[in-house]
Amino acid sequence: MSYFSRRKFLGKTGALLSAMVAAGFITSTAMAADYPTAEVNTTGLAVTDDTVTVGILHSLTGTMAISETGAQEAEKLAIKQINESGGILGRQIKIIQEDGASDWPTFAEKSRKLLRNDKVAAVFGCWTSASRKAVLPIFEQENGILYYPTFYEGLEQSKNVIYTGQEATQQILAGLDWVAEEKGAKTYFLIGSDYIWPRTSMKIARIHIEKVLGGQVVGEEYKPLGDTQFGSIINRIRLRKPDVIFAAVVGGSNVAWFKQLNAAGITSKNQTLLTLSVTEDEVLGIGGENLEGFYSVMKYFQSLDNPNNVEFVKAFKEMHGADSVIGDVTQAAYLGPWLWKAAVEKAGSFDIDKIVEVSRTGEIELDTAPEGYVKLHPNHHLWSKTRIGQWNRDGQATVVFESDLIEPNPFPEGYQ
């Protein structure tokens, strides 16, 4: 997390990696021999007889570093575990990490560097939609593959991107259905930060509330990113008295929003609140006492009680410190390298086109995901369950609802 501990960690894994390569040398060459480099890599990617190079591209500096830290930690954990278990097609994975610096053009520049100069076989990275939009043309032009971990607004489906987080309908619809049914909600107040993801999410939510649930939207508000004054909006909420506040506020604003909500006397005792934008990462900044009793809708919570997750949490804490927390995106980022491994092994090749081809079959699946079984849909998104967690004072959530596997639908008919 901090500068020093990260350095320590880098040193540690460095040593670990070399030790592992040495130890695993015989098995990996034996396996790699079954997959000659010339055959598994026909497009000149950075694949040698015993290594394959991938890129990690997240913001380590700037405002987004807050959110992206967990994602890149999870990706490194997954890669380390894959390497420990013999690598991929008998090859150890090497990482080139680049800093997007919370700046979209920098993301574009770095992704071009990774694809063009470093010839990486895959890239795990990006967090905001803006950064993804900035790199997308480059991935399509250079024919690279990006594993993108964040839950996002949908309306996109690129051959060169695998979306390991949920698209908007997966996350939103199940949550709204639950709150309508369980809480008997009729009136909704929508609030978000002013950019594409909250706006698209709220658009979908409004249509669902009005057309499907027969409820009423009594307010829809957007705050500029970084704004920290929520008093006026809180008063408007009081005026409209919604059954449910449906929130998608992000970043520093998010902290101010919950602190001021709590101080204004709006707590879970008198108000139902469902948010799309609070994971365990955010709770650290907001403080559990300000969130207690409110609900988040996510596909993953750190408290999930299944063997995969218990092991994942343990491994993550071993690698990144006992007090680290794991949020939805962190888990989705962790899936990236594993999904890539599954695709490469199924294709028997590192070639992007072949990976895309097998990804399109809808047969790439993971039994070992911390969130439970997931399967890649031909539209490059994941089938996943949606869960509702109620926050406790200690910053962990109690899962109060879990849906069936939901089909990803990035271009939802009737919701556009």
Binding site: M1, S2, Y3, F4, L60, T61, G62, T63, A65, I66, T69, D194, V218, E221, Y222, K223, P224, G226, D227, T228, Q229, G231, S232, I233, I234, N235, R236, R238, L239, R240, K241, G252, N254, V255, A256, K259, Q260, N262, A263, A264, G265, D281, E282, L284, G285, I286, G287, E289
Partner: protein, 307 residues
């Protein structure tokens, strides 16, 4: 809509009024330090937000330490944290003046740039030492929740606390600047630096202490804002532009101007915000300010002084 009673409407009105006052106190607390420095030396401190964040992190550290070593004192640590924030940010400000600012007095625009460089370094230091994620000091229970003068009026306690603290700090600054011997020195130096030096005022020391005082107040603001907003490496930069506007709009070297300016901006923003979207409210407020400044470049509240 439409189905609420007169009493509810009055309550909302009262609470909305408090929103404006609360924003006013936030703006004023941030602007005070900046205004003192700007009024005294014509220097705009671009790292002001980072001095604020320094206060916020000091509060966070104290909260963690108290929780670990003296959990029974959790109710009181916050008061100590405010003082500590003042001292930490103030000392660092003192150091900054000594190392950086004093070499640049004749070049105000360069000071602006140098303090920007400083703010980059400070932000990255926060990130390196505290991590990129936001932190949240545990607040004492008495700062949570709201005060209810009637059944339907909720006044946030943290908002009142910030308001009270702002009043206290403003009063302190007033007494210091206008009722103390030291304040007389400061004002004399502002009026005529050469003459003040000639009559035996140590103008360098006055500058250094003024800068430290301004930064220290930013530290207090940081401590106070942990109750209402986030603490992260870049938290300070969220406030900085609004704060500049308060200072510029209020006119230099006038405590009253700063107060009046903060009040006007806060009321305009919060009233507009109630009717139109926040983004547009912000755009409109800033735009109006710029237009007024074009008409009255000396700031709205400074009196005409002969040249």
């Amino acid at each position: 809509m439409g189905d609420f009673s007169l009493q509810e409407l009055t309550s909302i009105l009262a609470m909305q009024g408090f929103v404006g006052i609360s924003l006013f106190s936030v703006l004023l607390l941030m602007a005070l330090g900046l205004a003192i420095i700007f009024g005294q030396m014509g220097v705009i401190n671009m790292a002001h937000g980072e001095f604020m964040a320094m206060g916020a992190y000091t509060t966070y550290l104290l909260s963690v330490m108290t929780q670990t070593y003296f959990p029974e004192l959790m109710n009181y640590y916050f008061l100590i944290a405010i003082v500590a924030s003042f001292i930490v940010a103030g000392s660092f400000g003192y150091l900054t003046e000594y190392v950086l600012i004093r070499h640049l007095y004749k070049r105000p625009l360069d000071t602006l740039l140098a303090t920007w460089g400083l703010s980059l370094i400070m932000q990255q230091s926060f990130r390196s030492f505290f991590g990129a994620r936001e932190v949240s000091p545990t607040l004492p229970d008495w700062l949570m929740g709201s005060w209810m003068p009637t059944d339907s009026i909720f006044i946030p306690i943290n908002g009142m606390f910030v308001l009270g603290l702002t009043g206290f700090v403003t009063l302190g600054v007033f007494l210091l600047m206008y009722r103390s011997a030291w304040g007389l020195n400061v004002r004399a130096t502002t009026q005529n630096r050469v003459m003040s030096g000639a009559v035996g005022i140590n103008t360098k020391r006055v500058d250094r202490l003024t800068f430290a005082l301004g930064c220290g107040i930013a530290g207090i603001a940081g401590a106070a804002f942990t109750t209402i907003a986030s603490t992260g490496p870049t938290s300070g930069s969220l406030y900085i532009v609004d704060t500049f506007m308060v200072v510029v709009f209020g006119g230099a070297a006038s405590l009253f101007g700063t107060i009046a300016s903060a009040f006007t901006i806060a009321q305009a923003q919060s009233i507009l915000e109630f009717f139109i979207s926040s983004s547009m409210a912000k755009v409109l407020t800033l735009l109006t300010l710029i237009i007024i400044l074009m008409i009255r470049p000396e700031g709205l509240f400074s009196s005409k002084v002969r040249k």
